[in-house]
C-alpha cells in the first residue's frame, strides 16, 4: 500500500514526450555561429615517440585555421577521469603527448572551416615516429624487461602507491585475520583464475562537445558529460584559466554508462576556441568512440577460497590484476571496487585478503563502466560460490541466504577499502537479498530446472539454470556531494535547480518527485533545470550510483527548508503557530480550524505584501554511508552441446533498491543493464591484431543485442526501505549489470558441466570446453 503522493509512482518522465517528438537538442544538434570543426589524427602505432610533426602540407589545405599538437600546446599533466578533486587517478597525460601509448592515441588536432577540410588536413600531417616495443600482456607488465610506458613526470596527487617505472598504475592491499590458518582449517580449497574482457559502453549517441564565447567573453562548453563540474575544473586546469571563466552545460545526452564520465573532449574544443576566439565543435565517429574514448577494463582475478565440509568459508584470497590501458584514469578506483563491493557480501568470513594491481599496457584506455570493478569481481565470486555449493551438494540458494550480510551487520571491508582513500565503516540497514533470492527463484521456476539437464530440440540442446548475487553502493561515502536549490513562483510552482546529471536515466524526474513529495504537490509543479555550472549548484555527477541517494537527499533537504519557509509565511498570514500547520495539496492547512491558504497566495504575499522575500533555499548532502542495493539474478540457458551456442531463454532480476522512486524507471535501469550484461557475457569483446590495433571497431563486428536477441526478462523490485535514503531509496543504476555474466556461467555449468573462466562465452569457447571435458 503506497502512502506517498509521488514516490513509488511511475509519473510521466518530464522529458519523455519532448524526446519522443525529437524536439530535444543533443550536443551535436545545437546550431553554432561560424564554428571551427575539429578532426583528430590518431597514432597508428601502439608505442612510439613522435620525432617530428610537419604540418606544412596540412596547413595549406583550404579552410584550415589551426593545428594543435604537443609542440604548440602547453603541457599540463592531468587525469581525464571525472572524479572528485584531488583525483585518485594518476596525472599521466597532457592534452597532446609526445609519446604515443596505444593505437588510437591523440597525435594532433586540426581546426578548420569544415569537417571535410579538417579531416583532409589531418591526413596530410606528416609524422615521423620512433617505434618502441609495445606491451600488451598484463602479466608481463611489471617484469624487469617490460617496456616502460610512462615517464618520470607522471605522478599521483594523493598518497597512493604509484610506480610508473614498473608500469604500476595503482595498487591496493588489505587483509584481515590469518590467511595461512584460514586455509589450513579448510577441508577443500578452490583456486581459479577468471578473466574478463575489454568492452565498449555503446551509448547510441557518440561523444561530442562544442564551445563558444558568450557575450561577456566567457567560455561556454556544451558537452556529452556525466560530470559537468569535474569537466569545468579539469578544463580550467588544462587551459590554465580560472574556473570562473568557464560554463559547462549538459543538455540531453544519449546514454553514458560511465563512458561519459571522462573529460577528454572538453579541453580540446575549449583550447581551440580559446586560441582562435571562435566556436569549436567535435563529434566522434563510432570508430573513434570504440578506440579512442574509454572502455571497460579487462581484468584477471585469481580467487582462492577455503571451505569446510559444512560450507563455512574459512578464507578468501582475491588477487586482481587490471589492465588500465595506456593511461590510468580510474585505475585505482575500479580496481578497489572489485574487492570493496564483493568481499563484504559474505561478511562472516574471518580471513580475507585482497591484493590488487592495475598496470599500464599499450592498449585502449580503460575507464568507468557501469558496475565498475564489482562486475568483474562478481564474475569470479559467484562462480566460486556455485563451485563450493556443488562440492557439498548443497542447495546454493539456501547457502547464499545463510551466509550473506544481513541487516544490522557490518564488514571490516567497508572501512578498509574505499575509493582512493580508506573506506567508511557502515552498518547495513536494509537488505532484502534473501527475499530477492526467494522471489527470483520462484519466477524462474528454479527447482524444476536446476540440475535436471532437460534436453530439448531432439537431444542437441540442454537446459541449465544459474544464480548470481551482488551488492553495489549508493554514492561514495564522505566523498560524493550533491546540492540543490529551489525557489518558489507566485502560482505555486517551483524552480528546482540541481547539479545532478540525467543521462537519460530520468534523474530530473525522480528528483522532482522527491521535492514534490516533501511539499505534497504534483510533480508537474516542479520546473527542473540541471547540470549547468552557472545556474545549478554543485554535484559530483552521475556515477557510483549516487544520484538517487546523494542528490536525492540534497533535494529532500532543500525542499524541507522551502517547506519550512512556506509554513512560516502561512503562519504570519494566518496569525497562528507553525506547529498547527501542515502542507497538503498545494495549500497550507491549519489542522484544528481547517483554515487554509494556497501556495500561490503564500508566495504572492511573500513577494509583494509585507516582509517581502523570495522563498528560496539551497542544500547539500554527502553520504556518511553508502547503503548498498542488492540483487539476486537468475539465468536460464539452452546450450547447444554440438556447436557451443548459448541461448539465454529467461532472465530474472530481483532487486532491493530500497524504495523505488519511480518503478518504471527503476525497472528500466535493471532491464537495460541486464541486456548489456548478457551480450557482455556472450559476444562483446575487443579484438586486436598483433600490433595492438582494434579490428572490430564498428557495430558490424562488435555485436550488441537488438530486440530479437533478448530473452524473456522478469524484473522484481523488492519491498524495501532504507532509512537514510530519500523516502527510503537507495540506488539502482549499476547493480543489475553484475548478475548476467556469472549467472550465465553458472547456468552453463548446470547444463553441460563445464565452467567458463574466460569471458565472453563465445560458441567456440563453449564448444572447446565441452570437447575438452570429454
Amino acid at each position: 500500500m503506497n502512502k506517498f503522493l509521488n514516490i513509488g509512482k511511475s509519473v510521466k518522465k518530464i522529458d519523455a514526450l519532448s524526446l519522443a517528438s525529437g524536439i530535444e537538442k543533443f550536443v551535436d544538434d545545437f546550431p553554432l555561429d561560424n564554428p571551427l570543426y575539429l578532426a583528430i589524427l590518431y597514432s597508428p602505432h601502439a608505442h612510439a615517440n613522435i620525432v617530428n610533426i610537419d604540418t606544412t602540407e596540412a596547413e595549406s589545405i583550404d579552410g584550415v585555421v589551426d593545428i594543435l599538437h604537443y609542440g604548440n600546446v602547453q603541457r599540463i599533466l592531468h587525469t581525464t577521469a571525472g572524479q572528485g578533486f584531488p583525483e585518485p587517478s594518476p596525472y599521466d597525460t597532457a592534452l597532446f603527448n609526445r609519446k604515443m601509448r596505444f593505437v588510437g592515441d591523440r597525435v594532433a588536432a586540426v581546426a578548420a572551416e569544415s569537417s571535410k577540410a579538417a579531416r583532409e588536413a589531418a591526413r596530410k600531417i606528416a609524422v615521423e615516429y620512433e617505434i618502441l616495443e609495445p606491451l600488451f600482456d598484463i602479466e608481463k607488465a611489471m617484469d624487469d624487461d617490460a617496456p616502460r610506458i610512462h615517464g618520470d613526470d607522471a605522478h599521483v596527487v594523493i598518497p597512493v602507491p604509484y610506480e610508473p617505472e614498473r608500469n604500476l598504475a595503482a595498487e591496493v592491499e588489505i587483509g584481515f585475520g590469518d590467511m595461512q590458518r584460514g586455509f589450513a582449517e579448510a577441508d577443500f580449497i578452490e583456486e581459479h583464475t577468471y578473466t574478463t574482457q575489454y568492452a565498449s559502453h555503446c551509448a547510441i549517441e557518440p561523444h561530442a562537445a562544442i564551445s563558444y564565447f558568450d557575450e561577456r567573453g566567457r567560455l561556454v562548453i556544451v558537452t556529452t558529460t556525466q560530470v559537468p563540474f569535474h569537466a569545468r575544473r579539469i578544463t580550467a586546469q588544462v587551459l590554465d584559466i580560472p574556473v570562473g571563466m568557464i560554463r559547462v552545460i549538459k543538455p540531453r545526452i544519449g546514454g553514458g554508462f560511465g563512458g561519459k564520465q571522462e573529460v577528454f573532449l572538453e579541453p580540446l574544443v575549449a583550447i581551440v576556441s580559446w586560441r582562435n576566439k571562435r566556436p569549436a565543435k567535435i563529434a566522434l565517429t563510432r570508430s573513434e568512440v570504440f578506440v579512442a574514448s574509454r572502455t571497460r577494463n579487462a581484468m584477471r582475478i585469481r580467487l582462492k577460497t577455503g571451505a569446510k565440509k559444512d560450507g563455512t568459508i574459512t578464507a578468501i584470497e582475491m588477487d586482481a590484476l587490471m589492465n588500465t590501458g595506456a593511461y590510468g584514469s580510474h585505475a585505482l578506483t575500479v580496481l578497489s571496487n572489485a574487492g570493496s563491493k564483493v568481499l563484504p557480501l559474505f561478511n562472516k568470513v574471518e580471513n580475507i585478503s585482497f591484493i590488487g594491481r592495475s598496470v599500464y599496457t599499450n592498449l585502449p584506455i580503460g575507464g568507468a563502466y557501469r558496475g565498475y570493478g564489482a562486475t568483474k569481481g562478481y564474475f569470479a565470486f559467484n562462480q566460486q560460490l556455485d563451485t563450493i555449493a556443488r562440492r557439498k551438494n548443497q542447495d546454493i540458494l539456501e547457502y547464499i541466504k545463510s551466509w550473506h550480510i544481513k541487516e544490522g551487520e557490518t564488514s571490516p571491508i567497508f572501512a578498509a577499502l574505499g575509493e582512493g582513500k580508506e573506506g567508511v565503516a557502515q552498518i547495513i540497514r536494509s537488505c532484502k537479498l534473501s527475499e530477492c533470492i526467494d522471489k527470483g527463484a520462484e519466477a524462474i521456476d528454479w527447482y524444476s530446472k536446476r540440475g535436471k539437464r532437460i534436453r530439448i530440440d531432439s537431444e542437441d540442446k540442454v537446459k541449465g539454470i544459474g544464480i548470481a548475487v551482488s551488492m553495489q553502493g549508493s554514492g561514495i561515502p564522505r566523498i560524493d556531494m550533491g546540492s540543490a536549490s529551489m525557489k518558489m513562483n507566485e502560482d505555486g510552482s517551483f524552480n528546482l535547480h540541481i547539479g545532478a546529471t540525467d543521462l537519460g536515466t530520468g534523474s530530473d524526474t525522480i528528483l522532482a518527485q522527491i521535492a514534490a513529495e516533501v511539499l505534497q504537490i504534483p510533480v508537474e509543479k516542479m520546473i527542473v533545470r540541471s547540470s549547468d555550472t552557472d545556474l545549478t549548484p554543485f554535484d559530483v555527477g552521475a556515477y557510483a550510483s549516487s544520484t538517487t541517494y546523494v542528490s536525492g537527499n540534497a533535494v529532500r533537504k532543500c525542499a524541507e527548508k522551502i517547506g519550512a519557509q512556506i509554513i512560516s509565511v502561512a503562519g504570519k498570514m494566518l496569525d497562528t503557530n507553525v506547529e498547527n500547520l501542515i502542507l497538503t495539496d498545494c495549500k497550507v492547512v491549519e489542522t484544528l480550524s481547517k483554515r487554509e491558504i494556497s501556495f500561490a497566495q503564500i508566495c504572492q504575499y511573500a513577494l509583494y505584501s509585507a516582509d517581502q522575500f523570495q522563498i528560496q533555499a539551497g542544500a547539500s548532502y554527502y553520504g556518511t554511508e553508502s547503503p548498498p542495493p542488492f540483487a539476486a539474478q537468475f539465468a536460464e540457458v539452452d546450450v547447444d552441446t554440438r556447436t557451443g551456442k548459448v541461448d539465454v531463454i529467461k532472465f530474472v532480476s530481483a532487486v532491493d533498491c530500497g524504495q523505488p522512486i519511480h518503478p518504471k524507471l527503476a525497472e528500466g535501469q535493471v532491464e537495460g543493464a541486464v541486456v548489456n550484461g548478457i551480450s557482455y557475457a556472450l559476444c562483446e569483446e575487443y579484438l586486436f591484431d598483433s600490433k595492438g590495433r582494434m579490428t572490430n571497431d564498428s557495430f558490424w563486428d562488435y555485436k550488441i543485442y537488438n530486440a530479437l536477441d533478448i530473452p524473456e526478462l522478469v524484473t522484481i523490485l523488492a519491498d524495501s526501505h532504507e532509512e537514510t535514503g530519500p523516502f527510503g531509496a537507495k540506488s539502482v543504476g549499476e547493480i543489475a549489470i553484475n548478475g548476467p555474466m556469472p549467472a550465465i556461467a553458472n547456468a552453463i555449468y548446470d547444463a553441460v558441466g563445464v565452467r567458463l573462466f574466460n569471458a565472453p562465452f563465445t560458441p567456440e569457447k563453449v564448444f572447446n570446453a565441452i570437447k575438452n571435458k570429454r
Binding site: T643, C683, L687, N696, W700, K703, Y705, L708, P763, E764
Partner: protein
C-alpha cells in the same frame, strides 16, 4: 575527393554507353558502395527511373527486376510463393531498413561474401539478364565466376524456374542482426519419400561459394527414412577462413553440423 557525377537515365538504351565510361558504375540504392568506399568511382548511374522493378510469375518462370529490393521481393512472393527459399533468405538478411534498400541486382553484382541472396539463387539455377558490353541471359554461376560478364554490363533481371521445393536456409551469425559467416541453402524434391532432386549450396567458404554436388549425388534416390545423414555429411571437406565468429577449424565444424541438421530437418519435414 572530387565531385561525383550523377546520371538519372529513364531509358535502358542509354545505359550501355554510360557503362563504358571510366569510373561510372550503376547504383540501385543499396548500401554496397557507401559501405565499401568509392575511391575509384567517378560517377553513378541512378537506376531508380528505369523500368527495372518488375516481377513476373508466368510461363513456369519467376523473373525479378534488378532494382527490386529484398523487402519488395519478399512481399511480392509471399502471396503465391510464401515457402520459397528466397523469402526465407532475403526475409532475414541484414535488417528491416536495409532490406528496404538492398536490391537483388546490386547484391548479385557486388556478391559480398556474406550475401544472403546468392546461395538461394545458385541453388535455384538462376540466370541473370544482362545489357551493356554483353547482352543476354547467363547462369548466375557464370556471372560471378567470369569477369568479362561483369565488365561494363548491367543486370536487368534475374529469373529462375518456378518450382515447388522443400527448402532450408541457415545463417551462421553471432546475433540476430549480423552478416553470416556462412550460410547454407538446401533445396529438395521428394517423391514417395525418395529424394528425386537435391541442391546444396554454401556461401562464405574460402572459395566464396560452393555447390556441393558430391553430397547431392550421394543423396540422390536415397530413401529419406534410410539416410544415415551424419555418415553422408562427414566426408564433406570445405575450407573456411578464420572469421570474427570463430577460427577456421571451428567454422568448418560448425558448417558440418549445421549442414547435417539442415538436411535432416528437410528430409524429416512433412
Amino acid at each position: 575527393m572530387n565531385g561525383l557525377q550523377w546520371f538519372f537515365p529513364e531509358k535502358l538504351d542509354v545505359v550501355p554507353e554510360l557503362l563504358k565510361r571510366d569510373g561510372i558504375v550503376p547504383h540501385a540504392g543499396g548500401t554496397f558502395l557507401i559501405k565499401t568506399g568509392m575511391k575509384k568511382v567517378k560517377g553513378l548511374i541512378d537506376l531508380a527511373n528505369l523500368p527495372l522493378d518488375i516481377f513476373h510469375d508466368s510461363n513456369g518462370f519467376i523473373e525479378i527486376g534488378s532494382t527490386s529490393t529484398f523487402s519488395g521481393i519478399v512481399e511480392k512472393m509471399s502471396s503465391n510463393n510464401a515457402d520459397s527459399i528466397l523469402v526465407k533468405s532475403l526475409g532475414q538478411a541484414a535488417s528491416t531498413p536495409l532490406r528496404n534498400r538492398i536490391t537483388i541486382g546490386g547484391s548479385i553484382a557486388s556478391f559480398p561474401i556474406w550475401s544472403d541472396a546468392m546461395g538461394p539463387l545458385i541453388a535455384l539455377d538462376a540466370e541473370v539478364s544482362l545489357i551493356g558490353a554483353v547482352e543476354g541471359f547467363f547462369s548466375i554461376v557464370r556471372y560471378v565466376t567470369e569477369r568479362e560478364l561483369r565488365k561494363e554490363t548491367l543486370i536487368k533481371s534475374v529469373r529462375f524456374k518456378s518450382e515447388k521445393w522443400d527448402s532450408y536456409y541457415f545463417r551462421a551469425t553471432r546475433t540476430q542482426f549480423d552478416y553470416p559467416a556462412f550460410n547454407i541453402t538446401v533445396l529438395c524434391k521428394r517423391l514417395d519419400n525418395v529424394i528425386k532432386d537435391i541442391r546444396i549450396v554454401i556461401v562464405g567458404n574460402r572459395k566464396k561459394f560452393v555447390r556441393i554436388t558430391g553430397l547431392e549425388e550421394k543423396l540422390m534416390n536415397v530413401k529419406t527414412d534410410d539416410a544415415d545423414i551424419p555418415v553422408i555429411v562427414r566426408d564433406i571437406d570445405i575450407e573456411f577462413a578464420a572469421k570474427k565468429l570463430g577460427s577456421a577449424d571451428y567454422i568448418k565444424q560448425l558448417a558440418g553440423i549445421e549442414l547435417e541438421r539442415g538436411i535432416n530437418r528437410i528430409l524429416r519435414s512433412k
